[in-house]
Symmetry: C2
Subunit: 188 residues, 2 copies
């Protein structure tokens, strides 16, 4: 309704990037306001519940963005094996290209806050559920039996998230590529 929601948008986008890259506790409110260009005073106007609320909305933004990426990636082939492999390889390439300017979606926030903030944990949980269901949907559309597709969706999501973590630590995308390579064994 109001004029420009610009400041709020910028705050969430900046927070989203920094939380993924540095984690929850390492990212200060000062840094977020400073890098977003938004005035610090306006943070608590837009997010009365402070850092926790900002993090929840950041996770939600990331979730929407990544889910869309997964769905678009999976649409590049009708064959689920090929589609999932293509998606993972895309992630690996992006990882190599942007080096570490992107971080791993959700993971750091999930690890750091699951024990100390129930609403934040719940946000991360529904993020992962959304990722999983994208894979599961693809498999169901390809004729996989429903329960099997659900189980595979969870496993594929775990594999990718784990490979991201190891790739990030190792500084190379090899684990992601090897996971992609094993997808046929898993799905056949």
């Amino acid at each position: 309704m109001s004029g420009k929601e610009n400041s709020r948008e910028r705050l969430i986008k900046t927070a989203s990037r920094l939380f993924q890259l540095q984690g929850y506790h390492a990212t200060g409110l000062n840094q977020i306001t400073k890098e977003s260009g938004a005035p610090k005073g306006s943070l608590y106007y837009h997010f009365p519940d402070g850092k926790e609320q900002l993090a929840i909305e950041s996770v939600q933004l990331t979730t929407a963005f990544v889910s869309k990426q997964i769905e678009e990636g999976l649409n590049k082939s009708t064959d689920p094996i090929e589609a999932i492999q293509l998606f993972i390889k895309d992630m690996a390439e992006r990882f190599e290209r942007e080096s570490c300017t992107v971080g791993i979606p959700i993971a750091a926030v999930a690890l750091e806050t699951s024990l100390i903030s129930e609403p934040l944990r719940a946000s991360c949980q529904s993020a992962y559920q959304k990722f999983q269901s994208a894979f599961t949907e693809k498999l169901i559309q390809s004729g996989y039996e429903e329960k099997h597709a659900m189980e595979l969706g969870i496993v594929i999501n775990s594999m990718i998230e784990g490979a991201f973590l190891i790739s990030f630590t190792m500084g190379k995308s090899e684990p992601l590529l090897l996971v992609a390579k094993q997808i046929p064994s898993l799905l056949k």
Copy 2:
């Protein structure tokens, strides 16, 4: 050489537990000294390089502990498929039993520090390499071709680490159990 290295030991053990559970930035030096019972003044005597050094040695302790657990677990069966499945199920049971009093080995520290501390990142990297090679060794002993065994070691490690992360966030061990279930497809 000196009398009791007790205080140093306690500091590392406490730090190790807290870093896994809460992550690097959320764990303060005050909390570590307080919970370890060691005097705060002695921290910088034993660890002149401060928090970073303490974290590196904590990661090393965790690495040794977890590696031993993996190796012992894998020795419970000569069949690699069964052995790996047993190990993952053990982890899942322990996860359920101790709920969240244990955290995920290495992961939080790896995510939080890989970009800000090269020595700490390197410690986490060699941790993961050690985990991987335990799986790889088991596969080679069972007759898998060396390169294939190495690739599978990396993928299995990624799967487990990812499933841990998702299980932790979800609050239930289902992802770990589903990963165990898919091991036969992967290894056959």
